[in-house]
C-alpha cells in the first residue's frame, strides 16, 4: 500500500508459502488429473497412458457405486443432525446457568480427543458382548446386535460416532455467532408471547443463517471425506457395507498400488465436492434473510 515497499518485497514475503503450496497443492492437484489417465497396474515405476480406461473401469465397478452410495447416505444422515443438534446445544449452553462452562468443556472433549482413541472407545461399546448390547438386552430384551459386524448396521454405527464427535465443534462455531444476536429482539418476541421454539425460529435462525451455511458446508465436505472412523472401527466392512469413497481411494492407491485407478476415483470425488460447495452456498444465499 505504500510506495516505500520495494518492488520485490511482497513476493519475497509470499515465497516460502508459495513454494509449499505449489509443491504440495498445485502440482499434485494438476497431477491428479494426469494420473487418472495412466495405469500403474503392470509396472508401478513406469505408468502407461491408458486414456479413459480407469474411468471406464471405475464406472463399471459395483464397489465404486456402493462406496459412492454409502458416502451419500453418510452425508444425508450426518449433516442435518450436526447442523440442527449443534445449534440446539449451542442455544442450550448459551444460557446463564451455574457451571455452564464445565458443560461446554465436557461437550467439547470428543472434538479434542484423537479420532483413533474415540474409534477404539466406541468399538468397545459396540462390541458383541459390549456394554450397549448388554444394556439393550437387559433393559429392552433386544437380542445382541452386531453393531459393527452386521452389514445392516455398520455404516450407521460409524455415522453415530461422527455425529458424536462433531457436535462440540459446531457448537462452538454457533456459540460465537450467538453473541451477535441482539438481545432486545428476544425481549420483543417475549412481549409478543412467543414460546421458546417460536422465539428461536423467528430470531435466532434468521440471524444465524450465514453461520448455518458455514456449518453445513464444512460438515458436508467433511462427511464426503470421512475415513479414520471407518479405518479404525470397521475397515470398510463387512462386505463393503461401511466403505466410503475416500476409504476406497485409500485402499486402491495404498494397498493395491493402483494409483491411476484411485486417482480417477479421486477426480470424481473432487468434482462432487466442488459441485456441493457451490450448491450449498447458492442455496443458502437465496434463503438468507437480510440482517436488521
Amino acid at each position: 500500500m505504500y510506495k516505500y515497499s520495494k518492488q520485490f518485497t511482497p513476493y519475497l514475503f509470499l515465497a516460502p508459502a508459495a513454494v509449499i503450496l505449489v509443491l504440495f497443492f498445485f502440482v499434485p492437484f494438476l497431477e491428479s488429473f494426469l494420473l487418472s489417465f495412466q495405469s500403474y497396474r503392470n509396472d508401478i515405476y513406469n505408468p502407461q497412458w491408458v486414456g479413459l480406461e480407469n474411468y471406464i473401469n471405475l464406472f463399471h465397478a459395483p464397489v465404486f457405486w456402493k462406496t459412492l452410495a454409502n458416502t451419500f447416505i453418510y452425508l444425508i444422515g450426518v449433516v442435518p443432525l450436526l447442523v440442527v443438534l449443534s445449534l440446539v446445544i449451542a442455544i442450550l449452553v448459551n444460557q446463564k446457568l451455574r457451571g455452564i462452562k464445565i458443560f461446554r468443556v465436557m461437550i467439547y472433549i470428543p472434538v479434542i480427543v484423537s479420532i483413533v482413541v474415540a474409534g477404539i472407545a466406541w468399538k468397545w461399546i459396540y462390541a458383541d458382548s459390549g456394554i450397549l448390547n448388554y444394556m439393550l438386552e437387559k433393559l429392552f430384551d433386544i437380542s445382541k446386535i452386531g453393531w459393527l459386524t452386521d452389514p445392516r448396521f455398520a455404516l450407521y454405527s460409524v455415522m453415530a460416532v461422527t455425529i458424536w464427535k462433531g457436535l462440540g465443534y459446531y457448537m462452538v462455531i454457533y456459540l460465537a455467532a450467538l453473541t451477535s444476536v441482539p438481545k432486545d429482539l428476544y425481549e420483543a418476541s417475549d412481549i409478543d408471547g412467543a414460546n421458546v421454539l417460536q422465539k428461536h425460529l423467528a430470531v435466532t435462525v434468521p440471524h444465524l443463517m450465514p453461520t448455518i451455511t458455514l456449518v453445513s458446508v464444512i460438515s458436508s465436505i467433511s462427511a464426503m471425506k470421512v475415513f479414520v472412523e471407518i479405518y479404525v472401527m470397521t475397515q470398510g466392512g463387512p462386505l463393503n457395507a461401511s466403505k466410503t469413497i475416500v476409504y476406497y481411494i485409500y485402499q486402491r492407491a495404498f494397498e493395491n498400488l493402483d494409483m491411476g485407478y484411485a486417482s480417477a476415483a479421486g477426480v470424481v470425488l473432487l468434482v462432487i465436492v466442488m459441485i456441493m460447495s457451490i450448491i450449498n452456498v447458492k442455496f443458502f444465499e437465496q434463503n438468507k434473510q437480510p440482517i436488521a
Binding site: 516460502p16 509449499i20 497431477e31 442450550l92 470428543p110 484423537s114 474415540a118 481411494i249 460447495s277
Partner: protein
C-alpha cells in the same frame, strides 16, 4: 422458571454423559484387574479391584514415549512453520499493493475447495520423488510428514484478518523512523497479532497431533510412528485384550487432554476468529 432450569440441567447432564461416557468406560475397563469380569451385568463403572497393571503392562510393550516424542516433533515444527509462513504470506496480502495480488488471493482461496484426501496420491508420489521418506533417514521422514502441512489457507486468512485490523498510523510512524518492511513486519506487526498467532498455534497443534491418514500412508518404520498411528496398532497387537487396549488408549489421550484443559478458554473463544474467515 425454576422448572425450566431443572430441565436444562437434566439435558446438560445427559449430554455430558454421552460426551465423556465412552472415555470413562474405557478408563474403567483399563483399571479393572484380570480377575474382574469386564462384561459383567449390570456393568460396573467403578472397578472393584483397582489395578494399574494394565497401564504398566501396555507401557512396557508399546514404546509410548517414542510415539509421544515423534508426535511432539511433528506437531511442534508444523506449528512453527505454519505461524511463520502464514504470517509472512499474509502480510503483503493485507498491507501491500502489488501485481497479481488478486490472483494470489484466489489461488489461496482455491486450496480450501480441494480436500487433502482428493490429492493425497500425487502428494505421496511427490514426497517419494523428493525422497522425503523415513526409509531415507529420520530427518527426511519427518520432513515428508510435516512439509505438506507447513501452511494452509486457513492460517493465511486468519493472519491476514489480524493484520488488516492494525491502524496504518503505526506503520507510517515506523516508516518515518526509517524501519524497512521486514522490520515493520517483525517488530511492529508481529507483536500486535499475538492473539491470532496463539489461536493459529493451538488449532494447528491439535490438528497435527491428531493427524492419522497421512502418517499412516508415509510411515514405514515403527520407530517413526506418531501417537495416532501407534495407538491404532494396539488393536492388532492386543487383539481382544480390551484391558490393555483401553489402557493404551487412555495413556495416549493424556497429553492432548492436559493441553486442552489448560488452554480450554482459547478453544471455546478461539474458534470465534476461525469461524469468521472471510
Amino acid at each position: 422458571m425454576n422448572l425450566k432450569k431443572i430441565l436444562a440441567y437434566i439435558v446438560l447432564i445427559i449430554l455430558a454423559i454421552i460426551s465423556i461416557g465412552p472415555f470413562l468406560w474405557l478408563l474403567s475397563t483399563a483399571l479393572k484387574s484380570p480377575n474382574e469380569n469386564i462384561f459383567a451385568y449390570p456393568p460396573i463403572l467403578i472397578p472393584q479391584h483397582f489395578t494399574f497393571e494394565n497401564f504398566t503392562g501396555v507401557w512396557k510393550q508399546i514404546p509410548f514415549m517414542g510415539y509421544i516424542i515423534n508426535s511432539f516433533i511433528v506437531s511442534g515444527i508444523t506449528v512453527f512453520l505454519n505461524l511463520l509462513l502464514s504470517a509472512l504470506a499474509a502480510y503483503p496480502l493485507a498491507r501491500m499493493r502489488f501485481k497479481g495480488k488478486n490472483m494470489v488471493f484466489y489461488a489461496v482461496l482455491a486450496t480450501i475447495m480441494v480436500p487433502f484426501q482428493v490429492i493425497m496420491i500425487p502428494i505421496y508420489l511427490m514426497v517419494l520423488k523428493l525422497n522425503l521418506v523415513d526409509s531415507a533417514s529420520d530427518f527426511a521422514g519427518f520432513a515428508g510428514l510435516i512439509l505438506p502441512f507447513a501452511v494452509n489457507a486457513f492460517g493465511i486468512f486468519l493472519m491476514r484478518q489480524a493484520f488488516l485490523g492494525i491502524p496504518k498510523e503505526l506503520e507510517e510512524a515506523a516508516i518515518i523512523d526509517g524501519c524497512n518492511t521486514y522490520d515493520i513486519w517483525l517488530k511492529i506487526f508481529m507483536p500486535l497479532v499475538k492473539p491470532a498467532l496463539a489461536t493459529l498455534a493451538i488449532f494447528t497443534f491439535v490438528g497435527a497431533w491428531s493427524e492419522f491418514l497421512w502418517p499412516s500412508i508415509v510411515l514405514t518404520r515403527r520407530e517413526m510412528y506418531t501417537l495416532p498411528v501407534g495407538i491404532n496398532d494396539l488393536q492388532g497387537v492386543f487383539s481382544a485384550n480390551w484391558r490393555y487396549i483401553s489402557a493404551g488408549a487412555i495413556i495416549a489421550t493424556i497429553p492432548i487432554l492436559v493441553f486442552f484443559l489448560g488452554l480450554q478458554r482459547y478453544f471455546i473463544e478461539g474458534t470465534t476468529q476461525g469461524a469468521v474467515k472471510e
